[in-house]
């Protein structure tokens, strides 16, 4: 397991008392946790537990009803402060722009903000696609890619901004086991190579226990436990254990369907 202390380039993320309600339903019920610089922090939980809503708050797509989010000790609730830090979100679907090629998608941030000359942008795009082993797809349209390739392209797009914090929303959902392993390797390799702080939201136990430095288990908008993978596995809470050990083999009724 990698040690967060050896990876100082990422930022420290703190979530304090985060609350959010939609209509009468409280989706986030006062979340508190800290992600250390360079750490891979995984948030697990069943569907509807509030994981994706939490991510949208972290990236600024939603505003909380209460609580705050701090990066390196500074609240990022104001756009000016948030703009100081480079944060990227890899969407569950990849969210590549379907009207652009993979290469254009990956270089979009640099192109739209005119941060580099076109030749330099192309070099960076090729480099980032090579990082996720997707060089051959540079001229393809997103519709021509498999689910795993789309997610790798989305990771390449996130890498272009050289993020200090990268958020992954269900990176292995809808993927076959082999593609899931590839994505898990990408997350691990990027963390090792770039020292980026990584927050992964998933309900994929193999991914979570394969890459995490620490894991938080969420249910019903609350965090049930936070700890190392070993500590979470041993945590004696029935909801945590039910989620971690849910298995088709242990539910014989499924075999009769």
């Amino acid at each position: 397991m990698n040690s967060p202390a050896q990876k100082p380039d990422g930022v420290k993320l703190e979530v304090r008392g985060l609350r959010k309600s939609f209509a009468s339903q409280e989706v986030l019920q006062g979340l508190d946790f800290t992600v250390q610089p360079g750490e891979i922090f995984v948030i697990m939980g069943p569907s509807g537990s509030g994981k994706s809503v939490l991510l949208k708050h972290l990236i600024g797509l939603e505003a909380p009803d209460a609580g705050e989010i701090l990066v390196n000790g500074e609240s990022i609730m104001t756009p000016e402060i948030a703009a100081k830090y480079r944060m990227a979100l890899v969407f569950q679907s990849g969210a590549l722009l379907n009207s652009l090629t993979v290469g254009e998608n990956v270089g979009l941030y640099l192109t739209e903000h005119r941060l580099k000359p076109p030749a330099e942008i192309e070099r960076i795009v090729r480099e980032k696609l090579a990082d996720v082993r997707l060089s051959e797809a540079i001229h393809k349209m997103p519709g021509e890619l498999s689910g795993g390739m789309k997610k790798r392209a989305a990771i390449a797009r996130a890498l272009v901004i050289e993020p200090q914090l990268i958020l992954y929303d269900e990176p292995t959902s809808e993927l076959d086991p082999l593609s899931s392993v590839v994505i898990g390797q990408e997350i691990w390799n990027l963390n090792q190579n770039t020292r980026v702080t990584s927050l992964v939201v998933t309900h994929d136990r193999d991914l979570a226990f394969g890459v995490a430095d620490r894991i938080a288990v969420m249910d019903g908008g609350q965090i049930l436990t936070i700890g190392t993978p070993e500590a979470v596995k041993a945590f004696p809470d029935a909801r945590v254990q039910t989620f971690l050990n849910a298995d088709f083999k242990r539910e014989p009724r499924f075999k009769n369907i």
Partner: protein, 245 residues
Amino acid sequence: MFDNIGQMVLLFWRTLGALPLAWRQRQKVFEQFFEIGNASLLMVCMLSFFIGGVLSLQTGPALVERGLPSAVGGIVGLAVARELAPVMMAILIAGRIGSAMAAEIGSMRVYQEIDALRTMNINPIHYLVLPRLVAIALALPMLVVLAILIGWFGGATVAEINHHMAIPFAVFFGDLRSMVELKDVANGVFKTFCFAIIIGTVSCHQGMATIGGPRGIGRSVTKAVVNSIILIVMFDYILTRLLLH
């Protein structure tokens, strides 16, 4: 629709504020402009020819019967330039281009592409709305100028070949020139410019406000077309009233 008027005005206002960035987005403006022209040119030509033709057919025989064959060109010319070409083309474009805008932006909204833009600090109004609004505001008036010319030609053709009228081209256009002033065409083009702003704003707003899956996109497309047409007809009256004075 009226619940969203405030949001539409706000979207238009923000897009107007981003107008200085239009030059930076010129590539996308050009792509949209080409898309609008390419998708609509043939339909505009056909529709306007037959609009002019049917107007000639409806008014011509009655005027000839009353000994006013020379009035046909003027009536067709005025009606096409002031009213029929601007309104019919705007309705056509609302159905053809407005629906496409709402569907494309709505799909981007549903499939989180707009969220992805926001996470890259790319303003969706600058990236998506501004190029579309500028392109339609440029393209629609140009299409209407073409529609007016073809409408006149359609009216003149029918007036000549219809045996109840048999009005020569020269007589038709001579009368048209005497009754239709440049101001009439300019007013029609100005109205069209306003209709283009309405179509672009309504369609982009509906796209940006899309929620739900494919059904939500379908709802947005329907609302974009229906609301655009309602507003076009309402503003047609208001603008006509203002321009007549």
